[in-house]
């Protein structure tokens, strides 16, 4: 769970958003299939689905803007031009890959290039 180890890794290891530090940029790989935050919820009001609706979809670029004290909970994440405050439990449901592991950090793919890729 130590973010420092993960950032140093050469292989593009998969992390969860909750492990990132302030200033880290990452690409969303996917969302957890089931998570603690969805306990007692159905598919209708799934919070995982909500994260997807907020833009946490595979390929989306995000950046950790700020983290609070005490384990960095909650954290502020910038994605798709909007900023969201997420608690640790919510951020733990988002699987990411650090941007420097996949591409130069400057490559903030515009939807046009993303669409072309898709």
């Amino acid at each position: 769970m130590n973010p420092a180890n993960s950032t140093d890794s050469i292989t593009s290891a998969s992390l969860v958003l909750a492990e990132l530090r302030r200033g880290d940029s990452a690409v969303v790989i996917g969302l957890a299939d089931s998570a603690a935050i969805d306990a007692g919820r159905g598919t209708e009001d799934s919070l995982i689905a909500r994260l997807r609706d907020l833009g946490f979809v595979p390929g989306a670029h995000c950046e950790v803007v700020a983290r609070m004290w005490l384990g960095g909970d909650p954290m502020a994440v910038r994605i798709g031009g909007s900023t969201f405050a997420l608690r640790r439990a919510e951020a733990a449901a988002v699987r990411v890959q650090l941007s420097r592991d996949v591409a130069p950090a400057t490559d903030l793919a515009s939807p046009r290039t993303r669409a072309a890729a898709a």
Partner: protein, 623 residues
């Protein structure tokens, strides 16, 4: 379609993600012709407005709660879905949907628009904040977007006069002939479905040549500071300090005007009406009663001014972010912070402000603990008792009287946190309620929207004064005035009234916590509003003075006749006791049931009794 339906206004619903400028657009469309109520059976605010059209049919515009998706996670969002699906009992589905999309944050809004479009309702897309989008380098080919989406796309600038003219043009009812819409089915919420939607969205953005906004380095820097764990909290404290100062100092003068205005009106009434029950009812019941509540209007206006500015500018979600962890540890949401803060002025606006908490459970917890915050109506009582009973001695660098006052404030906050914590335990295995809070871009608050927002709050407050609060005041006036004392009465008139008899009965209940019969009687009219107890004590002790002079005259009487234990017990009582029918009336209104005000009154009275009992015993043993 029959003619009756044809001639009724076209039902238009505004849908959009939070912070997309939907409410500003709603204000632009309907002006001040708005009605704010609750949806039947739930506590979600329903905003509807009317607009005349050239053909005379008119528009009836419904501002639906903001949502990111039609798969709701909160009550508000469920309302939006249910209205669109025509599922909400007693509400007809809209004939036309205006989907408001913030051009600066096109992807998230357009995703919702795609979801709404699938429902099959006639739809127009309002591309709002086009001016900001252009400034920030966003490019959108509106025609191509409209072509690909298959609905009209109208650029708007909701905050600018005339910024919605093109939209108003297209909303002419004759352009939207009635057509039978089969109740649209809700679509599935599977991952495949969502992926298809994302693919559609990417395609749309590509066709429209969407270019995302440039980030503003200054805004980023300011945000980093405001969200900083240490500096951010310091700034928040400073903001709160200024707000508190303003609420108490700016409001002082207008409060005096209202106070003296009401006193003059009451005096004028007594002078010009033949003495008797009618004059007494008008002067002491209606005018004095309404006045004792209206006097808080300046504080409420100033408080809501600050809250609306903080909300409009985008700071409020950041404050919730900073405090989420702290408040989360006792089961409150970070969003509970502003309502609880407001409750220090008066619990009524505080409870009204809980509407910004989307999760019902979080909101209920906040409402239930709001009256524990030391409201300004307690100050006259605290002031009187502290001045009369607590010596002006120094404790280290502090003044003992000041320390006692601080302790009373702290007792309120600490007990609120404890009650919230206990409520969290009782809620059992409750569902996780998410933060997932958008921190919107900073923007200057718009004066027109501020004024409308303030006007709305003032209207709600004043209409409440005119209704239930006033009715309660009149009942209390009756209880304190009748039956009239016998001609040979020696005691104060209130002693012979129903309130007096009630007080005498209550004395048996209150004796164990050290209250004498005078206090017991004063507590009855004090139910209307806490500070009324001071005046009632004055009446009981047969004081002839009125207003501030009562306190001055009462001080020596209390100092010489009450024990320290009795005084402290009364202070402890006042920390908890729900001595404010107005608050309970607001809770009834906001929760749409008698259940919660009754639970609130029950638990607060129980806490008050226990606290006063313990205080009385401990101080008695100690002195």
């Amino acid at each position: 379609m029959d003619t009756a339906v044809e001639s009724s206004p076209l039902r238009v619903a505004l849908v959009g993600v939070p912070n997309c400028g939907k409410t500003a657009l709603f204000n632009r469309l309907t002006g001040s012709h708005q009605k704010v109520a609750n949806y039947p059976g739930v506590t979600v605010e329903r905003r509807e407005g009317e607009r005349a059209t050239a053909d005379g049919r008119g528009l009836r515009v419904l501002d639906l709660p903001g949502t990111y998706s039609l798969h709701p996670t909160t009550l508000d969002e469920a309302i939006t879905r249910d209205v669109l699906l025509g599922r909400l009992a007693g509400a007809q589905p809209p004939e036309l949907v205006v989907c408001v999309v913030d051009a600066v944050h096109l992807p998230i809004g357009l995703r919702l628009a795609l979801e709404v479009k699938r429902l099959g309702l006639p739809m127009v897309l309002a591309l709002n904040r086009m001016d900001v989008a252009r400034r920030r380098g966003v490019t959108i080919d509106v025609l191509k977007l409209a072509g690909e989406l298959g609905v009209p796309v109208i650029p708007t600038v909701a905050v600018r006069r005339g910024g919605a003219d093109a939209l108003i043009e297209i909303l002419q009812p004759e352009r939207w002939p009635a057509r039978t819409v089969t109740a649209p089915a809700s679509h599935e919420n599977t991952a495949e479905d969502a992926e298809q939607m994302q693919a559609d969205l990417r395609g749309l953005l590509a066709v429209a040549g969407y270019n995302p906004p440039r980030s503003n380095p200054w805004i980023a820097r300011i945000d980093a500071l405001l969200l900083h764990p240490f500096a951010g909290l310091l700034i928040l404290l400073a903001v709160l300090f200024v707000m508190f100062q303003a609420v108490f100092s700016w409001a002082a003068a207008p409060m005096d005007w209202i106070d003296s205005g009401m006193a003059a009106l009451s005096g004028y009434t007594l002078e010009h009406l033949p003495p008797g029950p009618v004059a007494s009812l008008l002067a002491d019941g209606v005018i004095a009663g309404a006045g004792s509540v209206l006097v808080f209007l300046p504080q409420i206006v100033i408080l809501f001014f600050f809250i609306l500015v903080l909300e409009d500018s985008g700071y409020l979600p950041r404050a919730a972010y900073l405090l989420d962890r702290l408040m989360g540890s006792v089961g409150l949401s970070g969003r509970a912070f502003i309502p609880l803060l407001s409750s220090h002025a008066c619990a009524i606006p505080g409870i009204m402000a809980t509407r910004t908490i989307p999760n019902w459970r979080d909101r209920l917890t906040t409402i239930m603990v709001a009256p524990l915050m030391t409201c300004s109506a307690r100050l006259p009582v605290y002031g009187l008792l502290i001045a009369a009973l607590i010596p002006r001695s120094a404790v280290g660098p502090f003044n003992l009287q000041g320390l006692v006052l601080f302790t009373l404030y702290a007792a309120g906050i600490v007990s609120a946190l404890l009650v919230a914590f206990v409520m969290k335990q009782f809620a059992g295995a409750r569902q996780y309620s998410p933060l997932m809070l958008e921190l919107p871009d900073f923007q200057w608050p718009h004066a027109g929207n501020l004024l409308l927002g303030l006007w709305e709050r003032v209207k709600i407050f004043v209409s409440r004064v005119g209704g239930i609060i006033l009715a309660l005041m009149i009942v209390l006036w009756f209880l304190s005035s009748y039956p009239l004392p016998p001609p040979d009465a020696t005691g104060p008139a209130i002693q012979y009234s129903l309130a007096g008899k009630l007080g005498a009965l209550l004395e048996h209940v209150f004796a164990p916590i050290g209250f004498n019969w005078q206090i017991s009687i004063a507590l009855v009219p004090g139910l209307a509003a806490r500070e009324v107890a001071v005046g009632a004590l004055g009446t009981v002790y047969a004081m002839s003075a009125s207003g501030d002079d009562v306190a001055t005259q009462l001080e020596p009487v209390i100092a010489s006749t009450w024990s320290l234990a009795t005084g402290c017990a009364l202070l402890a009582w006042y920390v908890f006791a729900p001595q404010c029918l107005s608050t309970l009336a607001v809770v009834k209104r906001e929760t749409n049931s008698w259940r919660y005000p009754l639970i609130m009154a029950g638990y607060l009275f129980a806490l008050a009794y226990i606290a006063a009992f313990v205080t009385f015993r401990v101080v008695s043993a100690w002195t």
